[in-house]
């Protein structure tokens, strides 16, 4: 792993500039919080880091080949169980049970995702992201749809399972513990 260098990148859609001459250094092992207002290109920046979007100009260096992602939409396989969705990408299946317990999903492990509430799906997507072996963790609005208690549990879970990886959280919902350790990025 190494620092990730984002140098003078530009991105526009249909002539509308979404990211304008953005330069950043994401230091290895550091947690970053993107908490700028909606429509400022947070998701676009995450999609560029995921390799799903190509920049119009500028360059990125040091982006790891393996990335853990929690999409803004859950993007779970609805017909499969909670456990199976996680197993499909998890590096170590022995950590799944513990994670399910931590986020209150243990009893729902064998239920099909389509039977879960929005908040449960969000937590499933979070576990899937955190248990995937990677050098970079990207979480897009991880607290959306969670009540105060589950939001706090999710924040604690994220912090416990970062395992020294570089991470970027895009969120307009704050959390004290994450605020305390994260470096804020304004784009």
């Amino acid at each position: 792993m190494s620092d990730i260098l984002i140098e003078n990148i530009n991105k526009s859609y249909d002539g509308k500039q979404v990211i304008n001459k953005l330069s950043l250094v994401l230091r290895e092992g550091q947690l970053y919080l993107l908490d700028s207002p909606s429509g400022t290109g947070k998701t676009t920046l995450l999609r560029i880091l995921m390799g799903l979007e190509v920049v119009d100009s500028g360059y990125l260096r040091g982006v790891p080949s393996r990335i853990s992602v929690m999409f803004q939409e859950d993007r779970l396989i609805e017909e499969l169980s909670v456990r199976k969705n996680i197993e499909l990408v998890a590096a170590d299946n022995s950590r799944i049970e513990e994670s399910l317990r931590e986020l209150g999903l243990y009893e729902y492990a064998d239920k099909a995702v389509k039977e879960l509430s929005g908040g449960m799906k969000r937590r499933t997507a979070l576990i899937r992201a955190m248990l995937h072996a990677s050098g970079l963790v990207l979480l897009d609005e991880p607290f959306t749809g969670l009540d105060q208690k589950t939001k706090e549990e999710a924040a604690g879970y994220i912090i416990r399972h970062l395992d020294g990886r570089t991470a970027v959280i895009a969120s307009h919902i704050g959390d004290e513990r994450i605020d305390a350790i994260a470096e804020h990025i304004d784009i």
Partner: protein, 248 residues
């Protein structure tokens, strides 16, 4: 339950209508009664070469059908990956769909022996439907899940089994179900026109020549039965194959 009773009632009324029409015509040469057809069905299986005739038609139509399903599937994946393939295939697919089966059979008879004609005709009737349906399924697949699989570097096998196949399943089942009956209709039409020896098509043709309507109806019923059994069996196997256990 009520639906089944209604259906049974409708069938009985249709049989009664048939019986009355046959009695009115009063000529078993022109129209056999349901009873005569039923009697013939109880003896036809003892005819010399019955099993051979059934096997001839069954193997050829099944082969044409299975080859078309496999080719349609592969072609749809190729066309989805490379637009040039989709463009190149489009006139062929359009032609196979538009050309009447009877014309197709007569044209093919110029180049192909009657023995294998039903394989090719079943293939040409089934292929465009499977190809078009599967291509539509591939084009409609979830981009969101494809991106998820890509970002998590999911293996091709896992992507195919857990992400893509469940999305393609309804398209595949619909295509295979619709075309199973089509393959039998077109395949037997090819046999009736080409009259290969020891085929169901030849039996039907001979029944017509000898004005033996009891035989004609009996062979037709056997064909309908074979077609239905084939379709049910194939669709059941396909469903088993495409079943993704949510726990596994």
């Amino acid at each position: 339950m009520r639906n089944n009773a209604e259906k049974l009632g409708a069938v009985l009324i249709a049989l009664l209508f048939w019986q009355l029409a046959a009695k009115h015509i009063d000529s078993s040469i022109l129209m056999a009664t349901p009873v005569e057809v039923l009697k013939r069905l109880t003896t036809i299986w003892r005819d010399d070469g019955f099993v051979e005739v059934i096997l001839f038609t069954l193997t050829r139509i099944s082969l044409g059908y299975l080859l078309a399903v496999a080719a349609g599937l592969l072609a749809a994946f190729a066309a989805n990956a490379y637009r040039a393939i989709e463009v190149l295939l489009s006139p062929w697919v359009a032609a196979f769909r538009a050309v009447p089966v009877a014309s197709m059979i007569v044209i093919l008879l110029i180049w192909v022996s009657a023995v294998n004609l039903s394989v090719i005709v079943a293939f040409l009737v089934v292929f465009p439907v499977v190809y078009t349906n599967m291509l539509a399924g591939l084009k409609a697949r979830s981009t969101a899940l494809w991106e998820m699989a890509k970002v998590f570097t999911m293996s091709r096998g896992k992507y195919l089994r857990y992400v893509l196949l469940p999305q393609l399943k309804p398209y595949m089942l619909s295509a295979c179900s619709v075309t199973a009956g089509m393959a039998w209709k077109a395949g037997v039409a090819a046999e009736v026109i080409g009259t290969p020896p020891r085929s169901v098509g030849k039996m039907i043709y001979q029944s017509k020549i000898w004005l033996n309507t009891a035989d004609l109806f009996a062979w037709t019923m056997i064909l309908v039965l074979l077609s239905v059994i084939f379709e049910k069996l194939f669709i059941t196997l396909l469903k088993m194959l495409l079943k993704v256990d949510k726990q596994t």
